[in-house]
């Protein structure tokens, strides 16, 4: 195109502080094909965009370069502005002179020279861009939600209430996630079961929600709007359509010794069990390793006792394929198991706290189970070692969090709040008990959060010590907690009956493999990468895949629920249209030039290229060629690089455009 407009943004002073924007504008006016070149303080603002649209009309521009921030930030904004003025959006390119220039180079002369180069490259590229129109792709208006915790439940309910079918897949035998295991929740101390169970029941009975519990996502194929998800429904050995939930089987089961995962090992359960009373579906599942009938073929009492004949020892895993248009990942978190042995070398664990060796050193979720009414001790706080009521309890914050040396460097955000909650629960249960909390900083930034912590300290007499605990040893039934109180300026030694560690919040197990199946990025800790931390927190770089809740980063229940509704909102936006429009920047093959070596067919990660034949009207084979399926191609461009004769081309990054960019640096 030969009528190019270059618009240079000051970005307030983010750019203009280190890039001489006026001198830059002068230089760029001489670039071949540039018709107008101007600067403005906030190009992405309303007046900024109006200035652009005015120039498009006035100068009859057929190409545009905006020199401002990263394309990931505002490319869509400027493309929309151009489109509103009749200029094809794909004739708009951006030069990143903020993140890649003014923010990182403080020598004005060098930064301005670099900005000029970046603009010259962008102009060279845009002159060879083609006017493109989005590709229209049919849409399956069904959603898949992975993870049945509070976030997954909320997302599923929102989407289902909007009238779309939802497939909810939960790994555990029942939905409810970590929240189901809590006793009360901060800052209102309302009972976790009471506020969650109605939503779980709603999920169980919702006509639009198809619930797969005790199931995993095996494989995901296809692309936005047309995913084909294979779900592995693990063998439950109980036919939930027949079972009435009467409980005869789990009462009859002789093996009551298996440690209950739901109680994090604090309590025991039988081989055939329902994780907790309010489970949805309230149907038992047989633990294949614990059931002697399945392992050694002896017993089968539960089957005898079952009036409905719902138990079937021959049950097999089942693979089910579901067609969905969008996927919401809500796989939640787990607390870091901080014993000595760790899965990778960098994490050294906290052997010095004796977790795993001293029975009375437990983590916060285990404490939640002990004080929970549906817990193993029926709500009475009893020490796991001897069942005595602990008179002195020590809560330790930041165990493994905010620790670059041997733990996670991030703050797990909710520990300060639930530690305060735990001191209150402890006070209400053991009136003459004394709670101690070791902390570094109290982080209570939510609504009524700080007031809640003040109440724990002032009314419930919790003793807060600002300092870290160095070591915990066990001497004659007492846990000697040695720490320091930096405000008092002297070491502190407490003889405690029970120690509760607020360990780091980490993503649930297996989230990396799931992310790879979904082509979603994740960071070094395994938290899923959102598309943009501020502007697109619930979207991911894989079109049609959304994230919410703790799988994306440590957060509390209100935030998880808010994110779940946000993700559901995004899905509903997608489903509001009859079809999906896809980015047209996909590959195509010049079938006259293709030598049919099919290297591209092998290389394509999406199997989007097929072997085709060109025949004349009489059906005689003229030649073979490779052919791209526009619906599947995601535009990675690997086929272009492996094609020897360069018959493959990728719109948006064509060979002419990329070579023009490199050559403009000459």
């Amino acid at each position: 195109m030969a009528r190019i407009g270059v618009f240079i943004c000051w970005c307030g002073e983010n750019i203009s502080r280190h890039v001489d924007v006026e001198k830059l504008a002068e230089q760029c006016a001489h670039l071949p094909g540039v018709r107008c070149c101007l600067t403005y303080k906030y190009m992405c603002s309303e007046p900024g965009q109006n200035l652009i649209r005015e120039k498009i009309r006035e100068e009859r521009l057929n190409g545009m370069v905006v020199a401002s921030c990263s394309p990931h930030m505002h490319l869509k904004t400027f493309r929309k502005a151009a489109e509103a003025e009749g200029l094809n959006p794909y004739l708009v390119e951006m030069a990143n002179i903020r993140e890649h220039c003014s923010w990182v180079h403080h020598d004005v002369k060098a930064a301005t020279a670099k900005a000029a180069d970046l603009i010259r490259m962008a102009v060279a590229k845009v002159r060879r861009n083609h006017a493109l129109s989005p590709i229209r792709v049919p849409l399956t208006k069904r959603a898949l939600v992975i993870g049945g915790g509070v976030a997954g439940i909320q997302a599923a309910l929102d989407i289902a209430d909007a009238g779309h079918e939802v497939v909810l897949v939960e790994r555990e035998p029942s939905i409810g996630g970590k929240m189901a295991g809590l006793s009360e929740t901060f800052p209102t101390l309302d009972c976790s079961q009471c506020i969650l169970t109605p939503r779980m029941v709603e999920v169980g009975q919702h006509p639009n929600i198809r619930l797969y519990t005790y199931s995993d996502v095996e494989a995901v194929e296809g692309y936005v709007g047309n995913f084909s998800v294979t779900i592995r429904k693990r063998a439950r050995y109980v036919d939930i359509s027949k079972c009435t939930g009467c409980g005869a089987c789990w009462n009859a089961c002789p093996n009551k010794k298996t440690p209950s995962e739901f109680d994090f090992g604090m309590g025991k359960r039988s081989a055939i069990y329902v994780p907790f009373p309010q489970a949805v579906p309230a149907r038992p599942v047989i633990d294949a390793n614990a059931c002697t009938m399945l392992t050694k073929g002896k017993c089968g009492l539960c089957a005898k006792k079952c009036a409905a004949g719902a138990i079937n020892f021959k049950d097999q895993d089942e693979l089910i394929t579901e067609k969905v248009g969008a996927i919401v990942v809500a796989t939640g978190y787990k607390l870091w198991d901080i014993g000595k042995e760790q899965e990778n070398a960098k994490l050294a664990g906290y052997g010095e706290y004796g977790y795993g060796t001293y029975k009375d050193v437990i983590n916060s979720l285990q404490f939640e189970r002990l004080v929970s009414a549906s817990g193993p001790t029926g709500g009475e706080l009893r020490r796991p070692s001897d069942g005595a009521v602990p008179k002195t309890v020590v809560f330790i914050s930041c165990v493994g969090s905010r620790d670059n040396a041997k733990g996670m460097s991030y703050c797990s955000k909710i520990c300060c709040m639930y530690n305060a909650k735990h001191t209150m629960l402890y006070k209400h249960k053991v009136h003459d008990g004394q709670a101690h909390v070791f902390y570094m900083d109290i982080r209570a930034g939510g609504k009524n959060y700080d007031e809640f912590v003040r109440r724990a300290i002032e009314q419930d007499g919790a003793q807060y010590h600002r300092g870290r605990v160095s070591k915990i040893t066990e001497e004659n039934g007492k846990l000697i907690v040695r720490g320091v109180d930096t405000l008092a300026g002297e070491p502190v030694t407490i003889e405690a009956d029970l120690v509760v560690l607020a360990t780091a919040m980490r993503p649930a197990d297996g989230v990396e493999t799931l992310a790879q199946k979904l082509n979603v990025g994740y960071d070094e800790y395994g938290f899923l990468s959102e598309s943009h931390p501020k502007l697109r927190p619930v979207e991911t770089n894989a079109a049609g895949v959304f994230v919410c809740g703790a799988c994306q980063g440590p957060k509390d229940i209100p935030e998880s629920v808010a994110q779940a509704s946000a993700a559901a909102g995004k899905v509903q936006v997608m489903f509001s249209r009859e079809e999906i429009t896809r980015e047209p920047e996909i590959a195509s093959i010049d079938e006259r030039m293709c030598a049919a070596c099919f290297t591209c067919v092998r290389a394509c990660p999406y199997n989007a290229i097929e072997r085709a034949e060109i025949r004349d009207r009489a059906g005689r084979l003229i030649k073979r060629t490779a052919r791209v399926n526009p619906g599947l191609c995601m535009g990675c461009g690997t086929c272009v690089a492996v094609c020897p004769s360069k018959s493959a081309e990728l719109e948006g990054f064509t060979e002419q455009q990329v070579y023009a960019m490199v050559e403009s640096l000459g």
């Binding site: 006259r592 099919f598 060979e655 002419q656 023009a660």
Partner: protein, 280 residues
């Protein structure tokens, strides 16, 4: 062996199994044998076989002028035969629609070509008919890439100077491309101008980019028949470049081109376990 060859070829033509024999002829004793296309049984006497039959005839299998002659029988040495395996893997030829006559060979060329010193394919593989006997024992990579290893003992600057002298003589006659059985593209990237990826004029800059492109397009494909080195009128030792990419494929992925028709080609496929030590 020549008589045996004549007998086999006459039978093939008379039986109508093939319409053309792609072989070597030598009309005028003074000049080395050259490719011939025998279409009638009487002409079979024109076929010769001696240690001067250096050309790799498989380059004709992808030519439209030769395909027009009908179903071919082709005479190949051990090194040439490997090109058929690669062409088959890249779906350029229909292996079932040709008869491959493999000639046992103990080295060709006067003086003996460099490739024959480390040849482990004296008896051609994956052929339909084999004529003559020879013993081919495996050659360890050390010896196979000896020429390259010797060359690589020079320093980077010495090598750069060497190639600047060599590639300056290249006049871009593209004999190296036209003679190579694996250069079968409809229109070579060198002949495309949207965009011009490297200069088509024989400037040193254009020659460097051209020979890099040609050699890299043979990565994991070059069978080492060295026709390009023989055909180059400027006497550029292209063998070193081919050995370089061949050795790289063998060291990194244990892959040698043209040995196993089922093997997954190197370029275009990958393994998550590929080892490398240069990516920081």
């Amino acid at each position: 062996m020549t008589k045996q060859l004549h007998k086999v070829c006459r039978e093939l033509l008379e039986s109508g199994k093939v319409q053309v024999i792609i072989g070597y002829g030598q009309k005028d004793r003074g000049q080395p044998p050259h490719p011939v296309f025998i279409t009638s049984p009487e002409e079979v006497e024109g076929l010769v076989w001696n240690d001067q039959c250096v050309a790799n005839l498989t380059t004709y299998l992808t030519r439209k002028e030769i395909r027009a002659l009908g179903k071919p029988a082709i005479i190949v040495k051990g090194c040439d035969a490997r090109a058929i395996v690669v062409l088959q893997r890249e779906s350029q030829i229909d292996r079932s629609a040709m008869v491959v006559i493999g000639m046992a060979c103990n080295g060709v060329g006067e003086p003996r070509l460099a490739k024959c010193a480390a040849c482990d394919a004296h008896v051609p593989a994956h052929v339909d008919i084999t004529i003559g006997e020879a013993v081919s024992e495996p050659v360890d990579p050390e010896r196979r890439y000896n020429d390259l290893n010797v060359f690589m003992t020079q320093s980077t600057d010495e090598r750069m100077d060497y190639w600047q002298d060599e590639l300056e003589r290249c006049v871009r006659c593209y004999a190296c491309r036209q003679v190579c059985p694996l250069c079968y593209c409809e229109r070579c990237v060198a002949d495309k101008n949207r965009p011009v990826r490297f200069s088509t004029a024989p400037t040193l800059k254009g020659n460097y980019a051209w020979h890099i492109t040609r050699a890299f397009h043979l990565a994991g494909r070059c069978i080492g028949c060295d026709e390009c080195t023989r055909a180059c009128p400027a006497g550029i030792n292209l063998r070193l470049l081919n050995l370089s990419v061949a050795r790289a494929a063998e060291n990194a992925f244990g892959y040698r081109a043209g040995l196993d028709p089922e093997a997954e080609p190197v370029i275009g496929s990958f393994s998550t376990q590929d080892k490398e030590s240069f990516i920081k």
